[in-house]
Amino acid sequence: MKNLKNILILGAGTAGTIMANHLRKKVDLSSWRIQIVDEHPGHFYQPGFLFMPFGIYTEKDVVKPKRRFIPRGVEYVEAAVERIDAEKNRVRLADGSELRYDVLIIATGTRPVPSQTEGMEGGDWRKRVHDFYTFEGARALAAKMRDWKGGRLVVHISEMPIKCPVAPLEFSFLADSWLRDQGLRDKTEIVYVTPLSGAFTKPIASGILSHLLEEKGIRVLNDFNIARVDNEQHKIVSWDEKEVDYDLLVTVPVNMGAAMIERSGLGDELNYVPTDKHTLRSRQHKNIFVIGDATDVPTSKAGSVAHFEAEVLIQNILDFIRGDPLCSRFDGHANCFIESGRGKGFLLDFNYSLEPVPGRFPFAAFGPLALLGESRLNHWSKMAFKWAYWNLLLKARPIPFVDHKMSLAGKEIPSGALKAEAAT
């Protein structure tokens, strides 16, 4: 029997699972063995966490076994990774055993790390201080919301970058809508506290979304950089001594890449792996590739990005194992539905060179969707996406509306908004 070469994927979340499915279809399994390593058995539909606090989704909507999405022919290893030894092309697992690789794909994502902020995990944690980016957090917040009688709800971002940067805005919009339905909106003050100078990272969308916050009576506090949570007085305090009182704090803790990346000496200060933003190859090691939230590439940390990146990365890995130059380039394409409450939604579509702009988005199935404009169809598209996620996206089947290269069709581009990309 001939010696197989190894492609090893770390992380069986959205990005890793999609890659396992692409590789299984495209790589010659008589010469290559594909392994995927993950320590947790459950695959979460993370966009669904946003809906749990409002009782729109329940726990069973958002979790399925990871193994179910790993195709036959790919070996699933349930184990924690201790470290990557990139010089020796080996990965050491927590039980001390080692996996060798010829090609490594890092897909270990990002996670909220509340312990990075003083006092965040204090006496108020999961009582008055909640997060909704984890299954446990979303579940605890759902219980808290059921008992809500009114008061001050503070929606807060600790530090950028965060996974799905629109989610805290969506949470605010949905909270406004839900509180109205419960007859609690006039008893609840909603305050949106962000370290950014605007409502969102991208200027044109930021303007439109600020307007929407204002319309819904949500007060915005910008440039707030949290130093600590004061659990006794129930307030958050910034480095420059600004204070915001809360009855309920829904925070997005500091996001960081896997601790294992730090142990391996492969990360930046937030444990993200320095990655070529076009080829998705590690900038340090020729046989290491990085995908999804684990990279430091300057686009959103979002499932749509992982999906688009995977289409580029599979081509580049095929080039690499043939010994060819890497020919496919990722353009930074992200495509995000934003729930704006009361059964409506927005759609953002952008890449490295064009921020989200208004217009129409060509959608083969039902005709165009409004870009950066509110509509019911956008809301229903977001709800339909759960099916597409479990049935098409994770299995690397084509999604019948979007290409990994962003299209300019239908976009109303203000003069100067489209930047020429610097050659790098």
Binding site: P195, S197, D223, N225, A227, W239, D240, E269
Partner: protein
């Protein structure tokens, strides 16, 4: 884009007062820029400015807060004490580098 006279030299600046050509920067320019922001530069300030300078030359971007902490060994509370109200934005301006993408 405009020019301004400072510390006996002419520098190109953008609308927000950030230097657009680092070659025109020197330590006297830094001291004068700091003074305009109401800051008297001390050794502690220079530790920050020198780190930004080194790091920019290596990475091509102004370091964010976490990088200042972790790589530069500079505490956030010290940065706020040295450069009040937006420490990284102010330190970058004084160091002669572009306005950082970071929030502070």
């Amino acid at each position: 884009m405009s020019q301004k006279q400072i510390a006996g030299t002419t520098v190109d600046v953008n609308v927000e007062g950030y230097l657009t050509n680092h070659a025109q920067w020197n330590r006297d320019v830094a001291a004068a820029l700091a003074k305009e922001l109401g800051i008297e530069l001390t050794e502690a300030h220079w530790k920050v400015l020198d780190f930004i300078d080194r790091d920019f030359k290596e990475k091509g971007v102004v370091p964010g807060m976490r990088r200042m902490n972790k790589v530069g060994g500079i505490l956030t509370k010290d940065l706020y004490a040295l450069f009040p109200d937006g420490p990284i934005k102010k330190a970058a301006l004084i160091a002669g580098y572009p306005k950082p993408a970071s929030c502070v």
